[in-house]
Amino acid sequence: MSTADANGIKQAIRSFILSSIAVPDLDDDADLFESGIVNSLFAVQLMTFIEKTFAMEMGMDDLDIENFKSLNATTAFVLRKNGRRSG
């Protein structure tokens, strides 16, 4: 996975998050779920976005808040999952 790929993934996730929650900008490490800025469906919306955009399927093993708590965490999760799939 190249740096360009990683940046593209991060940008796509950033755009999705910003289209879903009422914040003017997003710190890469801001905790999305602790801050109370997301609606009650955001977790499954984000999950569906990731599955659709990056052609992957999440299951029980992926249920870990560390995977989705921030923009950086979500990007790292997608990169790891993609790496496992292609590796």
Binding site: I17, L18, S19, S20, I21, N39, A43, K52, G59, M60
Partner: protein
């Protein structure tokens, strides 16, 4: 599309033959006979959206929506079986382990077992965060104590997906209905949805093996319940749409045939106004339901709000339509023997189940405001 239409015709024929003629009796008896459940199971309807590898039909959600619409036209209560079966099955398909899917899904897919979604509690209603049902660890897995209320199809369910807390974290567990310590207390005399087999569940020191835990502790309310409720909303939106079609068909039939002197009821301008609104709501609801089902098939992230909008719209529209359908038929429509009197009672239930109208407004309102407040591109445009 042609295949969907053909399936819809098949479903409507099934309902016309095996559901509609008996729905009034089921409503009076407050019970759905086992025979019709068996027929639905044999037709593959109860596991229609599960993959064939688990014994399902692998139908897309557009087809699932048409199935619910067709059944909603005949009996809201019977359609409730399709609703809860999908809610439990789809949560298990998404978040269950391979072992859990292999163990539970085949019997749910074939309809050998009915699943029920045990989320609502006597003191919580639609407020999911207030669960008091509690799992505590023991040597075998967990001990479950607490209670659930207003659980659709609980009287006939073979397994419940029970939501509660474990050490302060939300969890969901599969609990077979014959587990010692679980008591199913039927709820009778609802105003509508009378044959849907609702019950209150009492759990007293119910031992649940740890293998029955679905997903991981802490994610039942954020990831499991929303998936189940999502399919429940799609099912209920389409069921309400079918009921709305019933109101419309009864009303136009009555307006065209019922004579008052040398005129028909349909010659009355104010009646035509009621029917115009009903028919337009039917068309709008059809589009919203199709849009939600198609978004699910395309796995779009905005599918959740589309399902909310479809359910919000059709459930409110059918309440108006059922009221107008009774109004159009006058005294005859108020009698218990009229189909529209049942539609009127069932319609209101559509506004309550799988989240009340007010819950839908709260969630949708927040989603819309959040989309405007962020600086990204709206996901709703299409």
């Amino acid at each position: 599309m042609a295949e969907n239409k053909s399936k819809h015709e098949e479903f409507k024929a099934f309902v016309a033959r095996s559901v509609a003629p008996f729905a009034e009796q089921w409503d009076r008896d407050q019970r759905i006979p086992d025979g019709i459940i068996r027929q639905m199971a044999q037709s593959g309807y109860l596991g229609c959206s599960l993959p064939p590898e688990y014994g399902g039909q692998g139908w897309d959600i557009v087809t699932f929506g048409l199935l619910n619409e067709a059944f909603g036209r005949g009996s809201s209560a019977l359609t409730g079986v399709l609703t809860v079966q999908a809610m439990v099955s789809m949560v298990l398909l998404k978040w269950g382990t391979m072992e859990q899917r292999r163990l539970w899904l085949p019997s749910l897919a074939t309809g050998e077992m009915i699943g029920a979604f045990a989320l609502t509690e006597p003191g919580a209603g639609s407020a999911m965060q207030s669960l008091v049902t509690e799992f505590t660890p023991n040597a075998q897995g967990f001990v479950l104590n607490g209670g659930k209320k207003w659980i659709s199809c609980a009287q006939s369910a073979g397994v419940f997906l029970v939501f509660g807390t474990l050490g302060g974290r939300s969890v969901a567990c599969l609990v077979p209905s014959d587990t010692p310590g679980l008591r199913v207390e039927p709820i009778s005399d609802l105003m509508g949805f009378r044959a849907a087999g609702l019950a209150q569940l009492h759990f007293q020191d119910v031992v649940v093996p740890s293998a029955n835990l679905v997903g991981k502790p802490g994610y039942a309310l954020s990831h499991l319940a929303p998936v189940g409720l999502h399919y429940g909303r799609i099912s209920t939106a389409c069921s309400a749409l079918g009921l709305l079609r019933g109101c419309f068909e009864e009303s136009i039939g009555h307006a065209a045939r019922r004579k008052i002197g040398d005129k028909t009821v349909g010659d009355i301008g104010m009646v035509r106004s009621l029917i115009a609104r009903m028919g337009t709501d039917l068309e709008a609801g059809t589009l919203l339901c199709h849009n939600a089902c198609r978004a699910e098939d395309e796995h779009l992230p905005e599918v959740f709000e589309k399902a909310l909008m479809a359910k919000y719209f059709t459930s409110r529209a059918v309440v108006r339509a059922a009221s107008d359908a009774v109004q159009i038929q006058g005294a005859a429509g108020c009698h218990g023997s009229s189909a529209v009197s049942r539609y009127y009672r069932d319609a209101k239930i559509m506004e309550i189940i799988e989240g009340t109208t007010q819950i839908h407004e709260d969630i949708l309102g927040r989603i819309f405001v959040d989309q405007a407040g962020g600086c990204g591109t709206s996901t709703r445009a299409d």
